[in-house]
């Protein structure tokens, strides 16, 4: 009976520990107070980031490439202020547009560049004169001038689908924010350096933070709103706008969740204990847990990102379980006439080990995310597991100390027949469950098997998605604006191809330019009329064609790469001298690297993946494999916001598979270890896996795509639902060893822990169902599915677990 001795020994340790806490309770509370104050002081430094870059780890190669691209060419996630009007080419409209343009230019923080019809590059030839001007530098007034302007704009290849829609009824102001953050007001006079050739000792540049870009977007929206009118319909869209909207929703949701969680958990606690202490103390434990976890998060430099929103309410719901078990036992002991402090010590010595084990399984389920390629999911895994461990520590330290100070009395009503009657009803239900599940074990198992089988078929239909826009409510302005922009200006997201010729002036090579031109046209036409179409392609060739045409009296037949290759560098030199800095956005100063931008509509990132592959392959075939013009150093790189989306989808799928694998293996191992028997350990996993398979199956059958949030449900749920099994199995084994009767053991086990299981499961599922009150669709689904799994797991532990035991355990065998 080694095991029993071990159990006694463990109980002794937990009891002694609790007695020690009670003895030094003031000191313990003081230490906890200091810890919490420290944590609170850290929380202020917690940063929020809802950007697309934030989904990936800082060292993700895709992100590194993207940052390199931004360093060289600037940002590709522009904000577009699109304006719809039937009268764009009128003096009134253009004046208003100009006013808006200037107001944005002067008032939007962190603005890097702003382009609209007001200052659009206008390169044109007029006889022997070459004009390189801002489009509206000579503001039109007469009808004739307006008509000429319209003709010029509508025929300009560069403006089409960027600054003007094909029907001439929508124009856009495109705002590019800065890549780097501004570091304070610089002292003007300190800008000289002694030697210009030496690299300056400036600090590592910091990218514009999510917070700073929020300020940009807010200012844009604020200004744009005041211009919105009947014949000047303003739509603000772009990746940064979406990011900022998500953040607003996240903050609103979080406050909502916290309030609802505390309220519902409070109500559950009151229903169960009907005592102020029974409500306040557990809430304090979990409240302090959340504060401390957020403090640790802030101190470790982690940022609060979209998926992290789950963390506070998750910890509230999960952490409260520990206190519930301890309090239930304490009150039970007190009803049996044991004095308060002794009742507390006995409660901990009885439940301590189970609490540690259940915390470990929960933490293991969550920790399975810690290696996720999606950065915030990894953070969520790490800090949620840290959080549940903190909840356990607070339960062990804070609860006994506070409980022993809290005035607790055994109320006479608790001994009344009313409450006995109630508990009898509950006991009768539990007894019936025990009996039913053993008697009808075949029916139950066949039913379970059928459900699981249907679930498994559904599993094969599960697919992934990443489209943050669909997380937002359908009638939201930014969703509509994005749709309008995608429709009228043919796209709002860019894929960027970088061709590096590996040598200075490599782009003077006419063959390279022609190849870019040919590929762009091919890709545009191959994706025409598809859901994913290419609305516009911009590259260095756009400028060369433009200037070549301007040098030939604007004749349309000269809108092409010059026949005479020698003209290319000369025309580019001319362009550089014309005062335009537009080349910087397209090519490096050495003319060795060029960017080709494909504008596409905002779609599910899953659709981007094959497109990215296809475009990349075409460029590789053309440039790398063909060894065009004998250039072996030529490389092709794919990047841009769209490639980030692609990588996020890839990372989501990979992380999901990885975390499910890890969670199942670790939790199963823990179960086997805990039960001390491989077969029983494996069997006890079945009631916990079945609900997950079932719910994922439903998701598959309903054709609901798994996203970054709903992919979490399985790994989170498995760590939680096995807690039920642990409590149930440890009791079952104890009673089975005593009685050698499965039915009696199941009955006794359910009578002992059944109520606590019911309460914790109800609290947990409510904790997740609360997410259904989210303004965001993805959180709604996450809450719904996890909540259902928790309820199903309770049912399967009540019905399926005993039935399985009936099938698998031989009554004659000694446990």
């Amino acid at each position: 009976m080694d095991k029993r001795r071990l159990q006694k020994k463990l109980e002794g340790i937990f009891g002694a520990l609790t007695a020690l806490v009670i003895r030094f309770r003031i000191l313990v509370l003081l230490v906890l107070l200091i810890t919490v104050v420290l944590a609170i002081s850290q929380i202020k430094t917690l940063k929020i980031d809802t950007s697309n870059e934030g989904f990936l780890h800082e060292d993700d190669p895709i992100l590194t490439t993207y940052n390199g691209f931004r360093d060289q060419f600037g940002r590709d996630d522009m904000t577009a202020i699109a304006i719809h009007s039937d009268n764009i080419f009128t003096v009134e409209f253009l004046q208003k547009l100009q006013k808006l343009h200037n107001e944005l230019k002067e008032n939007v923080p962190h603005l890097w560049d702003i382009t609209s019809l007001v200052n659009a590059r206008n390169t044109r030839g007029q006889g022997d004169v070459l004009h390189v001007d801002d489009l509206l530098v000579d503001f039109p007034h007469t009808d004739k001038e307006l008509a000429r302007l319209k003709e010029l704009v509508m025929n300009n290849q560069f403006y089409r689908n960027m600054l003007i829609s094909e029907d001439g009824k929508m124009t856009a102001i495109v705002v590019e924010s800065a890549v780097y953050a501004v570091k304070g007001e610089s002292d003007l006079l300190s800008g000289f350096d002694e030697d210009l050739t030496k690299s300056e000792q400036i600090e590592e540049p910091e990218y514009l933070s999510d917070e700073e870009s929020t300020k940009t977007v807010e200012a844009i929206k604020e200004i744009a709103r005041t211009y919105d009118s009947e014949d000047f319909r303003v739509y603000v869209a772009g990746t940064q706008v979406i990011t900022q909207t998500l953040k607003t929703f996240m903050m609103r949701d979080m406050k909502r969740f916290m309030k609802l969680s505390i309220l519902t958990i409070g109500i559950c606690l009151f229903v169960m204990f009907r005592r102020v202490g029974g409500v306040v103390l557990p809430l304090l434990v979990v409240g302090l847990t959340v504060v401390t976890t957020l403090g640790i998060m802030a101190a470790s430099g982690a940022t609060f990102k979209l998926p992290t929103i789950i963390l506070p309410s998750f910890l509230l719901a999960v952490g409260v379980g520990d206190s519930v078990h301890v309090l239930a036992l304490t009150f039970l002991n007190m009803r049996h006439g044991i004095t308060k402090n002794k009742a507390i010590v006995e409660a901990f010595s009885h439940a301590g080990f189970a609490l540690v084990m259940t915390t470990m399984t929960t933490a293991a389920g969550l920790a399975s995310f810690s290696m996720a390629k999606v950065a915030p999911i990894a953070d969520l895994g790490i800090f949620c597991s840290v959080g549940v461990v903190i909840a356990l520590i607070y339960t062990f330290a804070f609860l006994p100390a506070a409980l022993s100070l809290w005035p607790l009395k055994v109320r006479s009503s608790e001994k009344s027949s009313d409450s006995l009657h109630k508990s009898n009803r509950m006991d009768r239900l539990l007894a019936w469950i025990a009996e039913f599940s053993i008697r009808r074990y075949r029916v139950l198992l066949i039913l379970s098997l059928t459900i699981v089988a249907v679930g498994i078929v559904g599993l094969t239909r599960v697919y992934f998605s990443h489209n943050v826009l669909t997380w937002l409510p359908e009638d939201l302005e930014v969703r509509r604006s994005t749709e309008v922009l995608d429709h009228e200006l043919r796209g709002s997201v860019a894929l960027e191809m970088i061709i590096d010729t590996g040598r200075e002036n490599g782009l003077y090579d006419r063959e390279v330019l022609l190849a870019i031109e040919r590929l762009s046209k091919e890709i545009e036409s191959d994706y025409e009329n598809k859901e994913l179409f290419v609305g516009k392609t911009i590259s260095l060739t756009t400028i060369i064609k433009e200037i070549h045409q301007a040098l030939h009296e604007n004749r349309p037949e000269f809108y092409k790469i010059p026949e005479n290759a020698k003209l290319i560098p000369q025309e580019l030199l001319l362009f550089e001298n014309s005062g335009s800095d537009d080349l910087e956005d397209m090519v490096d100063s050495q003319f060795s690297k060029v960017r080709v931008s494909f504008k596409v509509p905002w779609l599910d990132a899953l659709l981007y993946v094959p497109f990215i592959k296809d475009v990349e392959q075409r460029f590789r075939n053309e440039f790398e494999d063909n060894e065009l013009s004998g250039d072996e150093d030529l490389t092709v790189t794919v990047t841009g916001i769209m490639s980030l989306f692609g990588q996020i989808v890839h990372a989501t799928i990979y992380s999901a598979a990885q975390s499910y694998g890890i969670a199942i293996v670790i939790v199963t191992l823990l179960m086997v270890l805990l039960i001390g028997q491989v077969r029983l350990g494996l069997i006890s996993m079945l009631p916990n896996l079945a609900p997950i398979v079932t719910v994922l199956g439903i998701i598959g059958w309903c054709s609901i795509p798994l996203n970054m949030f709903t992919m979490l449900v399985g790994s989170i749920a498995i760590g939680l639902s096995v807690d039920n099994t642990i409590h149930f199995m440890s009791n079952f084994r104890k009673y089975f060893a005593e009685t050698h009767s499965i039915e009696t053991a199941v009955n006794k086990a359910l009578m002992t822990v059944g109520r606590a299981l019911l309460t914790t499961s109800v609290v947990l599922s409510i904790g997740f169902f609360i997410f259904m009150f989210s303004y965001m669709n993805n959180l709604f689904e996450f809450g719904l599915f996890t909540g259902i799994i928790i309820i199903l797991a309770l049912l399967s532990n009540f019905f399926m677990a005993p039935a399985l035991l009936r099938l698998a355990v031989d009554e004659s065998e000694k446990s």
Partner: protein
Amino acid sequence: MNTIKLLQSVVVTTALLLPFSDVSAEPVDGRWIMEQVDARDDGDNMIADSVMILIDKNGNERLREMKIFSKDKGKDTLRMQFFHAPADVKDTGFLTYDYYSGEKDDDQWLYLPDLRKTKRIATSDKSSAFMGSDFSYADMTRRVVDEWNYKVLKEDEVDGQKVWLVEAVPVTRAVEDRYGYKKSILFVRQDIFIEVRAIHVLQEAQKVKYMEVKQLEQIDGIWVATERWIKTTRSKRTLHRTKLIWDNVRLNQDLEESFFTVRQLEKGI
């Protein structure tokens, strides 16, 4: 030495010495300083070999070599430039008429050898980049003294020489737009009235340009800045730099006005 001259020199000396005295009596007038700068003989009828090194934010360099001819026509400047290097733009030529008066747009002609055509480039402002460098056309010519309000900020030393730091702010918004500068701080050497450093705050958000004279030579008795470095920064980060070096500077050459014509541009040198 007659009394008037004596008086004059006393006045000038006093003006020069005033800032050094602890008693802050009449400070030196900024406008007066800039008038001295404007009045200084900066040479005429110049021929020089110009080397321009363009350095991008990653430290990559591009070299441009040009032959420069320039002539003053009243307060206007005529300038002819031919590219020598790099080879692929060799013989490309620029002819510019920089008008002192801000009212008139500069004229610029360009000759592309492989197009065999001259085009006039209509430029609307002086703020655009000079030959793709960090210098603007305005930086390459003389400023109209009346278009700016001046204030002496302080005195300092640059390379051991005493300078005034003069702040210049455009008189009107139109001037500001034309130059693209919200303000400039000019470092004027007190002994020879030459700007040896300049800070230009651009209209464009957070952009500031820093110019330094790295080499000052006296040629035929006239001070010429033969090496100038300039960098464009934004929020302290350097976006681009240019080193402009003049070699073989010859002043008072026999340059006729008839040399600065489109005909000559197409003919080359």
